[in-house]
Protein backbone atom coordinates (compact mmCIF):
# COMPACT_ATOMS: atom_id res chain seq x y z
CA UNK A 1 0.00 0.00 0.00
CA UNK A 2 2.62 2.46 1.09
CA UNK A 3 4.88 1.42 -1.70
CA UNK A 4 2.13 1.90 -4.29
CA UNK A 5 1.35 5.39 -3.02
CA UNK A 6 5.04 6.15 -3.09
CA UNK A 7 5.37 4.78 -6.61
CA UNK A 8 2.46 6.89 -7.72
CA UNK A 9 4.00 9.97 -6.19
CA UNK A 10 7.26 9.27 -7.95
CA UNK A 11 5.39 8.83 -11.25
CA UNK A 12 3.54 12.06 -10.88
CA UNK A 13 6.57 14.05 -9.86
CA UNK A 14 8.61 12.55 -12.67
CA UNK A 15 5.91 13.53 -15.11
CA UNK A 16 5.78 17.03 -13.72
CA UNK A 17 9.57 17.29 -13.84
CA UNK A 18 9.70 16.13 -17.45
CA UNK A 19 6.97 18.62 -18.22
CA UNK A 20 8.86 21.52 -16.71
CA UNK A 21 12.00 20.54 -18.55
CA UNK A 22 10.33 20.01 -21.90
CA UNK A 23 7.82 22.81 -21.82
CA UNK A 24 10.21 25.77 -21.89
CA UNK A 25 12.20 23.99 -24.59
CA UNK A 26 9.14 24.13 -26.82
CA UNK A 27 7.97 27.62 -26.09
CA UNK A 28 11.12 29.64 -25.49
CA UNK A 29 12.34 29.46 -29.06
CA UNK A 30 10.59 32.56 -30.31
CA UNK A 31 9.44 34.10 -27.07
CA UNK A 32 12.32 36.52 -26.36
CA UNK A 33 12.05 38.22 -29.74
CA UNK A 34 8.41 39.08 -29.20
CA UNK A 35 9.19 41.03 -26.08
CA UNK A 36 12.67 42.20 -27.05
CA UNK A 37 13.23 45.93 -27.22
CA UNK A 38 16.60 45.57 -28.89
CA UNK A 39 17.79 43.43 -31.75
CA UNK A 40 21.19 41.72 -31.73
CA UNK A 41 24.19 42.86 -33.77
CA UNK A 42 25.45 40.50 -36.45
CA UNK A 43 28.88 40.02 -37.97
CA UNK A 44 32.43 39.70 -36.74
CA UNK A 45 33.61 42.26 -34.25
CA UNK A 46 37.07 43.64 -34.87
CA UNK A 47 39.52 45.47 -32.66
CA UNK A 48 40.24 48.69 -34.49
CA UNK A 49 43.23 50.84 -33.63
CA UNK A 50 42.05 54.18 -32.24
CA UNK A 51 44.66 56.92 -32.08
CA UNK A 52 43.39 58.52 -28.89
CA UNK A 53 41.46 56.04 -26.81
CA UNK A 54 43.37 52.91 -27.83
CA UNK A 55 41.96 49.82 -29.59
CA UNK A 56 38.17 49.77 -29.69
CA UNK A 57 35.70 46.93 -30.11
CA UNK A 58 33.97 47.71 -33.37
CA UNK A 59 30.66 46.32 -34.54
CA UNK A 60 30.63 45.02 -38.10
CA UNK A 61 29.56 47.77 -40.51
CA UNK A 62 28.26 47.42 -44.06
CA UNK A 63 31.06 48.74 -46.35
CA UNK A 64 30.64 51.77 -48.59
CA UNK A 65 28.95 50.99 -51.88
CA UNK A 66 27.89 52.65 -55.11
CA UNK A 67 25.16 50.93 -57.12
CA UNK A 68 22.74 51.86 -59.92
CA UNK A 69 19.02 51.21 -59.52
CA UNK A 70 16.22 50.47 -61.99
CA UNK A 71 15.68 54.22 -62.56
CA UNK A 72 19.36 54.57 -63.54
CA UNK A 73 19.93 56.52 -60.33
CA UNK A 74 23.16 56.13 -58.39
CA UNK A 75 22.53 54.77 -54.92
CA UNK A 76 25.03 54.74 -52.07
CA UNK A 77 24.96 54.26 -48.31
CA UNK A 78 23.64 57.82 -48.11
CA UNK A 79 20.51 56.77 -49.98
CA UNK A 80 19.61 54.83 -46.83
CA UNK A 81 20.63 57.56 -44.38
CA UNK A 82 18.35 57.63 -41.35
CA UNK A 83 16.40 54.62 -42.71
CA UNK A 84 16.40 50.93 -42.09
CA UNK A 85 16.52 48.58 -45.04
CA UNK A 86 16.17 44.95 -46.03
CA UNK A 87 18.52 43.42 -48.61
CA UNK A 88 18.55 40.34 -50.76
CA UNK A 89 20.34 38.97 -53.82
CA UNK A 90 18.59 37.63 -56.91
CA UNK A 91 18.76 37.54 -60.68
CA UNK A 92 15.97 38.11 -63.15
CA UNK A 93 16.20 34.77 -64.96
CA UNK A 94 16.66 32.76 -61.75
CA UNK A 95 14.59 29.61 -62.10
CA UNK A 96 15.12 28.21 -58.61
CA UNK A 97 14.59 30.13 -55.38
CA UNK A 98 14.20 33.74 -56.51
CA UNK A 99 10.47 33.89 -57.27
CA UNK A 100 9.62 32.33 -53.92
CA UNK A 101 12.13 34.58 -52.16
CA UNK A 102 10.90 37.73 -53.91
CA UNK A 103 7.28 36.88 -53.20
CA UNK A 104 8.21 36.58 -49.51
CA UNK A 105 9.99 39.96 -49.62
CA UNK A 106 6.94 41.36 -51.37
CA UNK A 107 4.93 40.34 -48.32
CA UNK A 108 7.26 42.43 -46.11
CA UNK A 109 7.20 45.34 -48.57
CA UNK A 110 3.43 45.40 -48.64
CA UNK A 111 3.19 45.38 -44.87
CA UNK A 112 5.54 48.40 -44.51
CA UNK A 113 4.59 50.16 -47.74
CA UNK A 114 3.13 53.07 -45.79
CA UNK A 115 6.26 53.63 -43.69
CA UNK A 116 8.93 55.66 -45.54
CA UNK A 117 11.51 54.75 -42.89
CA UNK A 118 11.65 51.19 -44.28
CA UNK A 119 13.42 50.62 -47.63
CA UNK A 120 14.26 47.56 -49.71
CA UNK A 121 17.36 46.76 -51.74
CA UNK A 122 17.61 43.79 -54.13
CA UNK A 123 20.98 43.22 -55.81
CA UNK A 124 21.32 41.33 -59.07
CA UNK A 125 24.09 38.76 -59.02
CA UNK A 126 23.94 38.53 -62.82
CA UNK A 127 24.84 42.09 -63.90
CA UNK A 128 25.84 40.86 -67.36
CA UNK A 129 22.24 39.93 -68.16
CA UNK A 130 20.28 42.14 -65.80
CA UNK A 131 20.69 45.53 -67.47
CA UNK A 132 18.80 48.57 -66.19
CA UNK A 133 15.82 47.94 -68.53
CA UNK A 134 15.69 44.29 -67.42
CA UNK A 135 15.70 45.38 -63.76
CA UNK A 136 13.01 47.97 -64.43
CA UNK A 137 10.83 45.42 -66.19
CA UNK A 138 11.34 42.95 -63.34
CA UNK A 139 10.39 45.54 -60.71
CA UNK A 140 7.31 46.62 -62.65
CA UNK A 141 6.19 43.03 -63.12
CA UNK A 142 6.49 42.55 -59.37
CA UNK A 143 4.29 45.61 -58.96
CA UNK A 144 6.98 47.96 -57.60
CA UNK A 145 6.36 51.38 -59.11
CA UNK A 146 8.35 53.49 -56.65
CA UNK A 147 12.07 52.79 -57.14
CA UNK A 148 12.96 54.94 -54.14
CA UNK A 149 11.22 52.45 -51.84
CA UNK A 150 12.50 49.22 -53.36
CA UNK A 151 15.73 49.48 -55.30
CA UNK A 152 16.64 46.79 -57.80
CA UNK A 153 20.34 47.48 -58.12
CA UNK A 154 23.28 46.50 -60.24
CA UNK A 155 27.05 47.05 -60.03
CA UNK A 156 30.18 45.35 -61.33
CA UNK A 157 30.36 41.70 -60.44
CA UNK A 158 33.04 41.97 -57.76
CA UNK A 159 31.17 44.75 -55.95
CA UNK A 160 28.01 42.65 -55.79
CA UNK A 161 29.77 39.52 -54.62
CA UNK A 162 31.69 41.28 -51.86
CA UNK A 163 28.46 43.02 -50.76
CA UNK A 164 26.75 39.63 -50.67
CA UNK A 165 29.41 38.47 -48.21
CA UNK A 166 28.89 41.63 -46.16
CA UNK A 167 25.14 40.99 -45.98
CA UNK A 168 25.82 37.34 -45.07
CA UNK A 169 24.43 35.92 -48.27
CA UNK A 170 26.24 33.11 -50.01
CA UNK A 171 26.51 33.94 -53.72
CA UNK A 172 28.79 32.49 -56.35
CA UNK A 173 28.94 31.50 -59.97
CA UNK A 174 28.20 27.84 -60.41
CA UNK A 175 27.79 26.29 -63.83
CA UNK A 176 26.31 23.13 -62.34
CA UNK A 177 23.12 24.75 -61.05
CA UNK A 178 20.20 25.96 -63.14
CA UNK A 179 20.65 29.60 -64.07
CA UNK A 180 24.43 29.54 -63.52
CA UNK A 181 24.53 31.08 -60.05
CA UNK A 182 24.28 29.50 -56.63
CA UNK A 183 23.04 31.75 -53.90
CA UNK A 184 21.16 31.63 -50.65
CA UNK A 185 17.87 33.39 -50.11
CA UNK A 186 19.05 35.43 -47.15
CA UNK A 187 17.37 38.68 -46.11
CA UNK A 188 19.46 41.04 -43.99
CA UNK A 189 18.01 43.86 -41.88
CA UNK A 190 20.30 46.92 -41.66
CA UNK A 191 20.01 49.83 -39.22
CA UNK A 192 20.86 53.54 -39.87
CA UNK A 193 24.38 52.99 -38.45
CA UNK A 194 24.99 50.40 -41.20
CA UNK A 195 24.94 47.53 -38.71
CA UNK A 196 23.24 44.25 -39.55
CA UNK A 197 20.50 43.61 -37.00
CA UNK A 198 18.82 40.55 -38.41
CA UNK A 199 19.49 37.72 -40.86
CA UNK A 200 16.59 35.60 -42.14
CA UNK A 201 16.06 32.74 -44.56
CA UNK A 202 13.84 34.28 -47.22
CA UNK A 203 12.58 30.85 -48.24
CA UNK A 204 11.04 30.22 -44.81
CA UNK A 205 7.74 32.03 -44.22
CA UNK A 206 8.18 31.68 -40.43
CA UNK A 207 11.53 33.50 -40.59
CA UNK A 208 10.05 36.17 -42.80
CA UNK A 209 7.31 36.61 -40.19
CA UNK A 210 10.07 37.10 -37.64
CA UNK A 211 11.55 39.82 -39.86
CA UNK A 212 8.15 41.53 -39.91
CA UNK A 213 8.13 41.43 -36.10
CA UNK A 214 11.71 42.72 -35.87
CA UNK A 215 11.22 45.77 -38.10
CA UNK A 216 8.90 47.60 -35.64
CA UNK A 217 11.31 46.72 -32.80
CA UNK A 218 14.17 48.32 -34.69
CA UNK A 219 12.06 51.36 -35.61
CA UNK A 220 11.13 51.83 -31.97
CA UNK A 221 14.77 51.56 -30.94
CA UNK A 222 15.72 54.24 -33.46
CA UNK A 223 12.97 56.58 -32.29
CA UNK A 224 14.11 56.10 -28.68
CA UNK A 225 17.70 56.92 -29.65
CA UNK A 226 16.58 60.04 -31.49
CA UNK A 227 14.77 61.26 -28.39
CA UNK A 228 17.79 60.62 -26.17
CA UNK A 229 19.98 62.48 -28.63
CA UNK A 230 17.56 65.42 -28.74
CA UNK A 231 17.47 65.75 -24.96
Amino acid sequence: MISSVFRRAVHVSLLALTGTILFPACSSKNAPSETATHLPYYGDRAMQPEPISGPADTIFTVPSFTLTNQDRKTITNDTFKGKIYVTDFFFATCPSICPKMQSELLRVYEKFQGDPRVLFLSHTIDPAHDSIPVLRDYAERLGIKDASRWHFATAPHDTIFSLARAYMTGAMEDATVKGGFAHSGTFALVDPQRHIRGVYDGMEPSQVNKLMQDIPVLLKEIEAEKQTAAR
Binding site: T93, P95, S96, S103, Y138, E140
Partner: protein, 141 residues
Amino acid sequence: MKLGPLQWVRAAAVLVAILLLAGCFTKRKDEGARLYAQRCASCHGEQGEGLRRLIPPLAGSDYLAQHRSSLPCQLRKGLAGEIVVNGVKYNQLMPGNESLTDSEITNLLNFVQTSWGNKGEVWTIREVADELQYCGGARGL
Protein backbone atom coordinates in the same frame (compact mmCIF):
# COMPACT_ATOMS: atom_id res chain seq x y z
CA MET B 1 -13.67 -24.94 -41.95
CA LYS B 2 -14.38 -22.76 -39.03
CA LEU B 3 -11.73 -20.23 -37.99
CA GLY B 4 -10.75 -20.04 -34.32
CA PRO B 5 -9.77 -16.73 -32.74
CA LEU B 6 -6.08 -17.44 -33.31
CA GLN B 7 -6.66 -18.03 -37.00
CA TRP B 8 -8.59 -14.81 -37.26
CA VAL B 9 -5.71 -12.93 -35.73
CA ARG B 10 -3.33 -14.65 -38.11
CA ALA B 11 -5.49 -13.88 -41.10
CA ALA B 12 -5.73 -10.27 -40.04
CA ALA B 13 -1.96 -10.10 -39.58
CA VAL B 14 -1.38 -11.51 -43.05
CA LEU B 15 -3.82 -9.01 -44.51
CA VAL B 16 -2.10 -6.11 -42.74
CA ALA B 17 1.28 -7.37 -43.93
CA ILE B 18 0.05 -7.50 -47.51
CA LEU B 19 -1.35 -3.99 -47.28
CA LEU B 20 1.88 -2.67 -45.79
CA LEU B 21 3.93 -4.43 -48.43
CA ALA B 22 1.73 -3.01 -51.17
CA GLY B 23 2.39 0.42 -49.66
CA CYS B 24 6.06 -0.10 -50.40
CA PHE B 25 5.33 -0.48 -54.07
CA THR B 26 3.05 2.52 -54.42
CA LYS B 27 5.74 5.15 -54.15
CA ARG B 28 4.14 6.67 -57.20
CA LYS B 29 1.08 7.61 -55.22
CA ASP B 30 0.85 11.39 -55.24
CA GLU B 31 3.85 11.53 -57.53
CA GLY B 32 2.36 14.50 -59.36
CA ALA B 33 1.97 16.47 -56.14
CA ARG B 34 5.48 15.57 -55.05
CA LEU B 35 7.04 16.54 -58.37
CA TYR B 36 5.08 19.79 -58.38
CA ALA B 37 6.40 20.70 -54.91
CA GLN B 38 9.96 19.85 -55.95
CA ARG B 39 10.13 21.39 -59.39
CA CYS B 40 7.34 23.90 -59.91
CA ALA B 41 6.09 25.39 -56.63
CA SER B 42 9.01 27.75 -56.06
CA CYS B 43 8.04 29.74 -59.17
CA HIS B 44 4.37 28.96 -59.80
CA GLY B 45 3.46 28.98 -56.10
CA GLU B 46 2.24 26.27 -53.78
CA GLN B 47 -1.34 26.96 -54.85
CA GLY B 48 -0.47 27.52 -58.51
CA GLU B 49 -1.04 31.23 -57.99
CA GLY B 50 2.03 32.44 -59.93
CA LEU B 51 3.77 35.70 -59.02
CA ARG B 52 2.22 38.96 -60.14
CA ARG B 53 3.09 39.69 -63.77
CA LEU B 54 6.39 37.81 -63.48
CA ILE B 55 5.30 34.17 -63.30
CA PRO B 56 1.99 33.04 -64.83
CA PRO B 57 -0.54 31.24 -62.62
CA LEU B 58 -1.50 27.60 -63.20
CA ALA B 59 -4.65 27.77 -61.08
CA GLY B 60 -7.51 28.94 -63.28
CA SER B 61 -5.15 29.41 -66.21
CA ASP B 62 -6.78 29.56 -69.64
CA TYR B 63 -3.42 28.70 -71.19
CA LEU B 64 -3.66 25.07 -70.05
CA ALA B 65 -6.71 24.36 -72.20
CA GLN B 66 -5.66 26.56 -75.12
CA HIS B 67 -2.21 24.99 -75.44
CA ARG B 68 -3.02 21.55 -74.15
CA SER B 69 -1.10 19.60 -76.77
CA SER B 70 2.14 21.52 -76.29
CA LEU B 71 2.25 21.10 -72.49
CA PRO B 72 4.21 17.79 -72.35
CA CYS B 73 7.05 19.17 -74.47
CA GLN B 74 7.05 22.47 -72.54
CA LEU B 75 7.54 20.55 -69.31
CA ARG B 76 10.41 18.58 -70.77
CA LYS B 77 12.13 21.30 -72.80
CA GLY B 78 11.15 24.49 -71.03
CA LEU B 79 9.72 27.64 -72.52
CA ALA B 80 11.11 31.00 -73.61
CA GLY B 81 9.51 34.14 -75.02
CA GLU B 82 6.27 35.97 -74.45
CA ILE B 83 3.08 34.12 -73.62
CA VAL B 84 -0.40 35.39 -72.71
CA VAL B 85 -2.23 33.85 -69.76
CA ASN B 86 -5.68 35.10 -68.76
CA GLY B 87 -5.06 38.22 -70.84
CA VAL B 88 -1.75 39.11 -69.15
CA LYS B 89 1.57 39.03 -71.00
CA TYR B 90 4.40 37.12 -69.34
CA ASN B 91 7.99 36.82 -70.49
CA GLN B 92 10.07 34.70 -68.16
CA LEU B 93 12.30 31.80 -69.03
CA MET B 94 10.95 28.47 -67.82
CA PRO B 95 13.64 25.79 -67.42
CA GLY B 96 13.05 22.33 -68.88
CA ASN B 97 12.93 19.09 -66.94
CA GLU B 98 14.91 16.73 -69.15
CA SER B 99 15.18 14.06 -66.48
CA LEU B 100 11.41 13.52 -66.14
CA THR B 101 10.09 10.27 -67.60
CA ASP B 102 6.89 10.11 -69.65
CA SER B 103 4.87 8.83 -66.72
CA GLU B 104 6.25 11.49 -64.39
CA ILE B 105 5.22 14.15 -66.89
CA THR B 106 1.77 12.56 -67.07
CA ASN B 107 1.38 12.57 -63.29
CA LEU B 108 2.61 16.15 -63.05
CA LEU B 109 0.24 17.34 -65.77
CA ASN B 110 -2.69 15.56 -64.17
CA PHE B 111 -1.89 17.05 -60.78
CA VAL B 112 -2.02 20.53 -62.32
CA GLN B 113 -5.13 19.72 -64.35
CA THR B 114 -7.05 18.63 -61.25
CA SER B 115 -5.74 20.90 -58.46
CA TRP B 116 -6.80 24.29 -57.02
CA GLY B 117 -10.18 24.10 -58.68
CA ASN B 118 -8.76 23.21 -62.10
CA LYS B 119 -10.96 20.75 -63.95
CA GLY B 120 -8.88 20.17 -67.05
CA GLU B 121 -9.10 17.09 -69.22
CA VAL B 122 -6.71 14.51 -67.76
CA TRP B 123 -3.92 12.92 -69.78
CA THR B 124 -3.21 9.26 -70.45
CA ILE B 125 0.38 8.21 -70.54
CA ARG B 126 -0.11 7.18 -74.17
CA GLU B 127 -1.25 10.66 -75.12
CA VAL B 128 1.73 12.22 -73.36
CA ALA B 129 4.17 9.81 -75.03
CA ASP B 130 2.66 10.69 -78.43
CA GLU B 131 3.18 14.43 -77.82
CA LEU B 132 6.72 13.85 -76.57
CA GLN B 133 7.59 12.39 -79.98
CA TYR B 134 7.79 16.02 -81.12
CA CYS B 135 10.59 16.82 -78.68
CA GLY B 136 12.99 13.94 -78.55
CA GLY B 137 10.67 11.04 -78.03
CA ALA B 138 9.63 8.83 -75.20
CA ARG B 139 11.93 8.33 -72.26
CA GLY B 140 10.39 5.24 -70.72
CA LEU B 141 8.30 4.98 -67.63
